[in-house]
């Protein structure tokens, strides 16, 4: 492959994406299916769609895809039926008996037909069963109405009679009695309809009935306690039993129509109590009969479904596989003679032998007489980016890819992210107590990895699980940074020996550093515990963390610029080295590199020089004497030189590159027409070598404006990016202050009461605040800030990120996509 990846450095697999090649495979049509299947098992070839202009159903294998879709539909139907019946498909059976697709299709068809038949039968039975149940309800409830009505009527009658008897004892006219006795015979015969109506419709039902009969009806409704299964829809609905009394034929037809319109099921009913009882018995008998029939049917259905369940996963897998194979086959172009198909696709160079092996096996297994032809094509197209990651590195690579997928073979920031990302996180999250908590959580995920990865997790858990190794690294680095900051839930410990300071006399309080003297040699690792709780705690830690942030920032930005050098060298772009990398390096280091130098010198010498003053007056009046702010001899001369270099590097970045590009373009243009005359083939290859500028129109103003923007961005960015790294200090400060507040204002306060209950409450509040605010929210915010520092401050120095991911045709990836 082109490029000099094997230079001075040992090979880093993740640094450059895998070298790719565009391969062309010509397969005889009889072994095409098997070839694609083997390549899918291998999963290292990304097919190109050679029929992009054809619509899906015009392609060669549209019919097979339709068949697969149909089978998938049947399988979905089975799955639905199984979940309804509460049968879960058994896990993939290990015995992978070979099933032919055609056989499977027939089998599925038969099973579906059988299942549908069984279902319709049982549905019919179920419907009758539900109707009978409703009938029984109507009989019971309506019977109650009539009974109640009758008893109240007789009671009334008795009352009247009693009255009449009472009246009769006095001198009442006999006529009245006769009249009241004659009443029933004169009565118009009332008809009635009984049935069930859904509860939510009952109000409207009553209203319509009232309107339709102009009030000449009597409706009695009783709610059924338990929801009733509707015979038509098969759903559980709350219903009312109703009885409507009406008079006249016209009213009857109207009421019947209304019942129909409201989906009210009518059932015949007799007034005779004896008959009622008889009917209830009859219905109950029928119900129990039907019940046994239905049960037998259900058992039969369950048996069918269980049989399906045994092989369901296998079938499902097969169908998906076949469908994806035909999809892939559809992307291949059919030869004019229809004897062979041509496939084109990207594959990593290292997979060449594996692909060839797969092709050979396919030819052999399909008993094809002609072998497949495998050849590498040369193209100007940019290949896809493929990194071979493992479970540890993949999460870090994801972080980079979320910003943009690397250009083909561009330096991959993912390599450095593995360390720098958790490290920058830890600078903001430095507390070894919190670090241990993070580590414990992530250790749980890592130890149960196998189990957890096979099951579905919740949204947030899934995310945490996916980033478990990132969190592990973050936890480890937090412990490290926490030890340096000497904070354990904001409490300092004397882990590495005694503090270097002690009180001069017993009267000196903790609250000041004035009375302290140095009694021992410097505290060996991290911040001396004596600083905590002293009056100068904050100024000291702020100064330390601020300076450290700048040092870390300058270091990381320098790394970014150096990576741009490696990129330029890899792509053999000398212009970028001399007119971009060099001036950028000089500019950044002459300003902020110098600042870093001053910080280190100040730390080593213990000088009291004011660095703000030095930096600001370096620009404002560079010739002035430094006075007491001088850190080392010759500083003024150095400053003048650096300032000059910084000023020079700006036009250096800006002007030469576009001008040189223009010149190159003109030269190439002349050269091209010259070589064309000599031999066409060579010139074509030449063109491929200088890939990007081949035919493009060269627009000087555009290139210049682009360079101008780039330069301004870098110069301003150098200042703002350095300032941006101060977030490391700010977040670290916020974190330690918050944890101090929780510790002192909650835990210590509760402790002070000497009351066990208050202590418990205080402890609970402390735990929740620590977990909720510090461990969850602070982790999130520190994570985001670390992310930003990588995406913006680090990657904008070198990373293009305009590539596209390698997505091979692979059966292993199939399941994830479909689910």
């Amino acid at each position: 492959m082109a490029g000099g990846g094997h230079g001075c450095c040992p090979p880093m697999d993740l640094m450059r994406s895998e070298p790719m090649q565009l391969v062309q495979i010509i397969v005889p049509i009889e072994s095409a299916h098997l070839t694609v299947s083997y390549l899918g098992d291998l999963g290292l070839l990304q097919f190109k769609d050679l029929n992009a202009d054809k619509s899906p159903f015009q392609r060669t294998y549209a019919n097979q895809i339709k068949r697969c879709g149909e089978m998938a539909r049947k399988l979905r139907f089975f799955r639905e039926q199984m979940t309804k019946a509460g049968i879960s498909p058994s896990a993939m059976s290990l015995t992978q008996t070979h099933i032919d697709l055609d056989d499977l299709e027939i089998k599925l068809g038969e099973l579906e037909a059988e299942l549908i038949e069984v279902n319709t039968n049982s549905e019919k039975l179920q419907r009758t069963y539900n109707e009978l149940l409703e009938y029984k309800l109507v009989l019971q409830k309506a019977g109650e109405f009539f009974y109640a009505a009758q008893s109240s009527a007789t009671a009334q009658q008795r009352e009247i009679e009693a009255q009449q008897v009472f009246d009769g004892s006095l001198d009442s006219p006999l006529l009245l009695e006769q009249e009241s006795l004659a009443d029933p015979s004169k009565q118009v015969k009332l008809g009635f309809v009984s049935g069930l109506v859904p509860k939510e419709k009952s109000m409207a039902f009553e209203r319509i009935l009232f309107r339709a009969t102009r009030g000449n009806m009597y409706l009695k409704q009783v709610a059924v306690e338990d929801p009733v299964t509707d015979p038509v829809s098969g759903e559980k609905v709350a219903k009312n039993v109703f009885v409507v009394f009406y008079s006249g034929e016209r009213a009857k037809t109207k009421i019947l129509k209304i019942c129909e319109a409201f989906g009210a099921n009518r059932y015949p009913f007799t007034e005779d109590v004896g008959k009622q009882m008889q009917m209830i018995d009859e219905v109950s008998g029928k119900i129990s009969e039907l019940k046994t029939t239905i049960d037998v049917g259900l058992i039969h259905r369950d048996n069918i479904l269980k049989n399906i369940g045994h092989q369901f996963e296998q079938w499902n897998h097969l169908v998906r596989r076949e469908k994806s194979i035909y999809h892939t086959l559809n992307m291949l172009s059919l030869d004019v003679t229809k004897k062979c198909v041509v496939a084109e696709g990207w594959s990593p160079v290292f997979a060449t032998s594996q692909v060839q092996d797969a092709l050979k096996r396919a030819t052999y297994d399909s008993n094809s007489q002609v072998g497949s032809i495998f050849q590498v094509l040369y193209t100007k197209e940019s290949p896809p980016t493929y990194f071979q990651t493992n479970k540890f590195t993949s999460a870090f690579q994801e972080i980079v890819d979320a910003y943009g997928v690397a250009k083909y073979q561009e330096a991959n920031p993912g390599v450095y992210t593995i360390i720098t990302f958790p490290f920058l996180f830890a600078v903001m999250f430095g507390d070894w107590g919190h670090g241990i908590c993070l580590l414990l959580v992530t250790m749980y995920f890592i130890f149960r990895e196998k189990k957890l990865s096979s099951q579905k997790l919740g949204d947030i858990t899934e995310m945490t699980f996916g980033g478990r190794y990132v969190i592990m690294m973050m936890g480890l680095f937090s412990i490290y940074a926490g030890l340096i900051y000497n904070e354990f839930f904001s409490v300092p410990f004397e882990l590495f020996g005694k503090s270097a300071y002690a009180c001069r006399d017993p009267s000196c309080s903790n609250a000041t550093t004035v009375g302290l003297i140095k009694v021992r040699s410097t505290y060996p690792f991290g911040v001396d515990p004596k600083w905590y709780g002293s009056r100068s705690e904050l100024p000291f830690l702020n100064s330390l963390k601020m300076k450290m942030s700048i040092l870390l920032g300058v270091a990381q930005m320098n790394l970014g610029i150096v990576l741009s050098y490696f990129n330029a060298k890899f792509f053999k772009n000398n212009l970028n080295i001399w007119y971009q990398f060099v001036p950028q390096l000089i500019f950044l280091n002459s300003l902020f590199g110098y600042l870093s130098l001053l910080i280190i010198v100040k730390w080593c010498t213990g000088s009291k020089a004011d660095l703000y003053h030095v930096m600001i007056y370096m620009f404002l009046s560079p010739t002035d004497d430094l006075g007491e702010n001088q850190l080392f001899p010759g500083q003024k001369t150095l400053q003048l030189v650096l300032l000059f270099l910084a000023l020079i590097s700006v036009p250096w970045m800006l002007f030469p590159k576009p001008i040189l590009l223009k010149k190159q373009h003109q030269e190439r243009h002349q050269g091209q027409s010259y070589t064309l005359l000599q031999s066409t083939e060579e010139s074509l290859e030449l063109e491929q070598d200088h890939s990007s500028h081949g035919h493009e129109e060269f627009e000087f103003s555009e290139v210049f404006v682009h360079q101008l923007i780039h330069t301004i961005e870098f110069v301003l960015g150098a200042v703002s990016n350095t300032a941006s790294y101060l977030r490391l200090w700010a977040l670290s400060l916020a974190h330690s202050e918050l944890s101090t507040v929780f510790y002192e204002k909650v835990l210590l306060l509760a402790w002070g009461f000497n009351n066990i209950i208050i202590l418990i409450v205080g402890f609970i509040v402390f735990v929740f605040a620590t977990v909720g605010v510090l461990l969850v929210m602070e982790t999130l915010s520190a994570f985001l800030h670390a992310l930003r520092l990588h995406w913006v401050e680090f990657q904008n120095k070198f990373y293009e990120g305009d590539g596209y991911k390698f997505s091979p045709f692979s059966f292993a990836l199939l399941g994830e996509v479909e689910d």
């Binding site: 899906p56 159903f57 979905r76 409207a204 319509i208 339709a212 129509k257 129909e260 319109a261 409201f262």
Partner: protein, 351 residues
Amino acid sequence: MYGFEALTFNIHGGYLEAIVRGHRSGLLTVADYNNLCQCETLDDIKMHLSATEYGPYLQNEPSPLHTTTIVEKCTLKLVDEYKHMLCQATEPLSTFLEYITYGHMIDNVVLIVTGTLHERDVQELLEKCHPLGMFDSIATLAVAQNMRELYRLVLVDTPLAPYFSECITSEDLDDMNIEIMRNTLYKAYLEDFYKFCQKLGGATAEIMSDLLAFEADRRAVNITINSIGTELTRDDRRKLYSNFGLLYPYGHEELAVCEDIDQVRGVMEKYPPYQSIFAKMSYGESQMLDKAFYEEEVKRLCLAFEQQFHYAVFFAYMRLREQEIRNLMWISECVAQNQKSRIHDSVVYMF
């Protein structure tokens, strides 16, 4: 509130506007239609639609498909989307959304009443009703014998009740009456909707009044053409026109006296927006008028999406989807009946 929509619109309407614009981008494009028109069987159509937003609705249909299944499922999708939006909507958007369905309600009422008149089965009729225009007691319509009963029994509970006030007669229902009732209802509905939109103000009023005016004018033309040669008097005809729109009032006077299609044409050509529609047709032809009107409507509906912060997008989206379903129905019918040469006759492209 005119001019301040941008400030306050998103408080209640922002989410739904985003939703509806998202739905809009799922409408089939010309490329999709081109592919659909090349289909050989209904299965091909299903296969193509499975790549669009209709996919989940069609994927579980067993293979011998029918045009009705396709249309039913596509409508189901529209109804689901509508219901989702209605659930999320607050006043006055929810009322606005409800207004959109009243047109379907009127059509359903007319469908059931006509069906019962010709003694068709109620269940069968119910299946033909547009699901957007369903209301609880719709099946009870079959009971009614005349308009007064129709009103008193059923419609008094529905939002259509106020529109009915003009057409309560005790006459028995017949085809002519029903058609007049449909148009009277529609007239009242459009006027009410128009008034409601005016009350909302702002961009909604501006765009909706344009869309509704077009609708009203189209109905006026259709009423005129359909009533030529019937016993409908000029005054009755005049009464069916909605009292707004570009043609109101002078155009209506002229339309009311038209006796043949060329006179209608003469009237319409005086109005520049309609000139282009009639310019496409040769004299004496009325077949292509529907399509021309549909095309013009789709054009206007698409333009509604060019402005933000107004409710007309919901109206426009519902109408566009309905047009799309009509298109799909036509294409499916043509494919099913092997009439592929006629496939382009009635398809209205959108984007």
